[in-house]
Symmetry: C2
Subunit: 220 residues, 2 copies
DNA sequence: CTCGTTTTGTTCTCGCGTTCACAAACTCCT
DNA sequence: AGGAGTTTGTGAACGCGAGAACAAAACGAG
């Protein structure tokens, strides 16, 4: 129904609206919100039009009202239980991340295959054995899982999650994981992001190099 | 020259090729590589065709040769120096991330505004005051910077980075940062990813709900 | 050497997303 | 009340990316 590209931007608008609300702003135009969200105002209006007509012509949008409508559309008016698997460097950072709670997610369990970690408290939540996954998933009706294990373990963890009823996975491991139809996977990959930056950086360098060469060597 | 969508997939191919090479495979077809990378084989071939004709019809691609060609195109045949700013929960995880080094990046400095952190060793690299940014950037010719500070500090840090000569920024803070033309910014945002998953999760739930309602209520 | 098999590289078509441009709708001032 | 000024919501044009389909090229068997 709502285009995927729009869905990916709604959370950005939500964050921008929250920032505006915290700044005491009650009403904003599409131009204001667009610049706060870093997008084009026409795109913003078109995106919002998929949700309904929540603005007032000649006036703009009511910040709190629009915020609620977007939150409702995304589905973050209530908290989602989340499990994190793989409590190493990254898992610790994720578990300590306050943005989880404030944006509609609740970490209900931290799981790790390394039994030496069992019982360790991270941000007040105890680390439990990976084998507890099924029990926790069914007890808390967990639909969203986060994978922060090494790449080699990612597919196995994903399979276990799916078997336990998880239908959305956020994967931080640099590995392609395959899941049955109906299960969503999103991946976050630091090295891919850096490599994309490196590609553009290299092109900039070539560009400058050519300009310099042209300046020195004259017209070629 | 190369479409942006293709650039974003080249690192994935590179990783898949590395995995194949480690498995002792010397040659692969577009079908093999595509399934290892999780994409369609037609798309893969089209992507590779932007780089040149590095395959052999009827045979496939030489794994090592293709790997080198992609690495060269991305610009990761030599290491890129990187600075990380904000050595909190996430910054620690990033500094400890071994995938940095193995994929063409070298952390040359860890910076934090909190002077209590100065001197702390993280993965063998000492944390230094944020004000050392300019000196480090010019000494190591740093072009790529990573922001892992709170959102409120992100724009300031970005401005200082740009002034120090950084032209590519990877931003982990949940904030829109604006930079001059010629500077690239990529953002990684955990909560946005989770919210996208939540949206689809909610839709799945509605879908099931409707099916259940239809099954109970009969044809409506 | 020739023919069949395999697999690449490329052309073509379709659909999605972005952006422009403007009519409709609302407010405020006179 | 009416007109001027704003700002939304959307229709239409355009460009890019995905995928199917196929021709060209390499290889091996006979
Ligand atoms: N550290 C970072 O900043 C960073 C950045 C980007 C991506 N990543 C990726 O995230 C993943 C985790 O990185 P890390 O630095 O935290 O690694 P890590 O080695 O510190 O932690 C991995 C954890 O996963 C656990 N584990 C291993 N196999 C498991 C299994 N089958 N089930 C459950 N738990 C298991 C280990 O016991 C360990 O605690 C890696 O795939 C890495 O490539 C890390
Ligand atoms: N922890 C996570 O897993 C996680 C996940 C996603 C996003 N994030 C985001 O990453 C950022 C960092 O998260 P964190 O959990 O590491 O926070 P943190 O508070 O643990 O660390 C932030 C660090 O930045 C330093 N800092 C503050 N202002 C600075 C400045 N102006 N210049 C230099 N350094 C400065 C602080 O001293 C601190 O060490 C936040 O924006 C957070 O929203 C974190």
């Amino acid at each position: 129904m709502i285009p995927e590209a729009t869905v990916a931007r709604l959370p950005v608008y939500l964050r921008a609206l929250t920032a505006l609300a915290e700044g005491g702003i009650r009403t904003c135009s599409s131009e204001d919100l667009a610049s706060a969200a870093g997008v084009n105002s026409a795109k913003l209006r078109k995106d919002l039009s998929y949700l309904g007509s929540y603005g007032t012509r000649g006036v703009g949008y009511d910040v709190d009202y629009l915020r609620y409508q977007i939150a409702r559309e995304i589905g973050v008016t209530h908290d989602w239980p989340v499990v994190i698997v793989g409590i190493g460097n990254l898992g610790h950072a994720l578990a300590n991340y306050s943005g989880f709670r404030s944006r509609g997610f609740r970490v209900v369990a931290l799981l790790d295959a390394d039994l030496d970690r069992t019982g360790e408290l991270v941000a007040g939540v105890p680390v439990r054995p990976f084998d507890d996954l099924e029990a926790i998933a069914s007890e808390h009706a967990v639909a969203i899982g986060v994978i922060a294990t090494p790449a080699a373990a990612a597919q196995d963890v994903a399979d276990r999650m799916v078997a336990a009823g998880v239908t959305s996975i956020l994967n931080f491991a640099p590995a392609v994981i395959s899941v049955p139809e109906g299960v969503d996977v999103r991946k976050v990959d630091l090295s891919i992001e850096l490599q994309i930056l490196a590609y553009h950086e290299q092109r900039k360098a070539h560009e400058t190099g050519r300009e310099v060469a042209a300046a020195i060597g004259g017209d070629q």
